[in-house]
């Protein structure tokens, strides 16, 4: 299985992702992009940006571990993961997850499994920013 894991202040490019994922045997490419929404903050303001920070070495370690666990029960050929750091404006993508598999079923299963785990385990934190306020997002356990 080919694996790409990265986190930086620069966005991923579609061509880079597809070049990495495509192969003669991968009939299904599933690309998920998480996009910053203009949600409403507690004071009624709209979000204009998210700010992301991370423990970068642990992002690599935990994401690699996730990929290892994923390959135990998901039959995929390649995975491309990228996450942005810093400020990301509404409408911009902050996370890219691309999976290549023989058929769509495996690609979709892997995508869902990986994102559910990622959301609970990979040490990245986000803050919502409006024009006046900012607040860290703290998920309830």
């Amino acid at each position: 299985m080919k694996v790409h894991i990265s986190i930086s202040e620069a966005p991923a490019s579609y061509n880079e992702i597809m070049d990495f994922l495509k192969s003669d045997h991968a009939g299904a490419i599933a690309l998920f992009e998480g996009v910053v929404r203009s949600d409403v903050l507690d004071n009624g303001e709209s979000v204009t940006h998210l700010f992301y920070e991370a423990h970068v070495p642990m992002v690599h370690a935990e994401t690699s571990l996730l990929v290892e666990q994923m390959r135990q029960h998901c039959d995929v050929y390649a995975i491309f993961f990228h996450h942005l750091l810093g400020n990301v404006a509404v409408g911009q993508t902050s996370i890219w997850l691309g999976i290549a598999a023989q058929h769509r079923k495996e690609a979709f299963e892997a995508q869902t499994w990986f994102l559910n785990q990622f959301k609970q385990r990979v040490p990245i934190w986000k803050k919502e920013l409006g024009d006046q306020t900012q607040q860290w997002v703290v998920p309830h356990e």
Binding site: E53, A54, V122, P123, W125, K126, W136
Partner: protein, 79 residues
């Protein structure tokens, strides 16, 4: 002994800084560090906090050493 602490996310707001140094008792455990944090800073008592050293999550009973670098992590919220 002295430990170097780096906090992430909302814990930075509670600590007033992203990096602090704490004087802690010899033999303190990871769970003890969490108790120290919750006693000395206005952290919500129910907030789950993970402690990382050398790119590894510590179990509750692991012993902290002098000059350790610890990373304090609130619940993650990436994506």
């Amino acid at each position: 002994m002295v430990v170097h602490v780096q906090a992430f996310g909302i814990l930075k707001d509670f600590l007033g800084s992203s990096e602090v140094q704490w004087n802690l008792s010899d033999g303190i455990t990871a769970e003890g560090v969490r108790a120290f944090l919750k006693k000395n800073y206005p952290v919500h008592p129910g907030l789950p906090i993970a402690i990382v050293r050398d790119n590894r999550y510590l179990a509750d009973d692991e012993i902290i050493q002098d000059q350790d670098h610890l990373f304090l992590m609130p619940p993650v919220s990436g994506g």
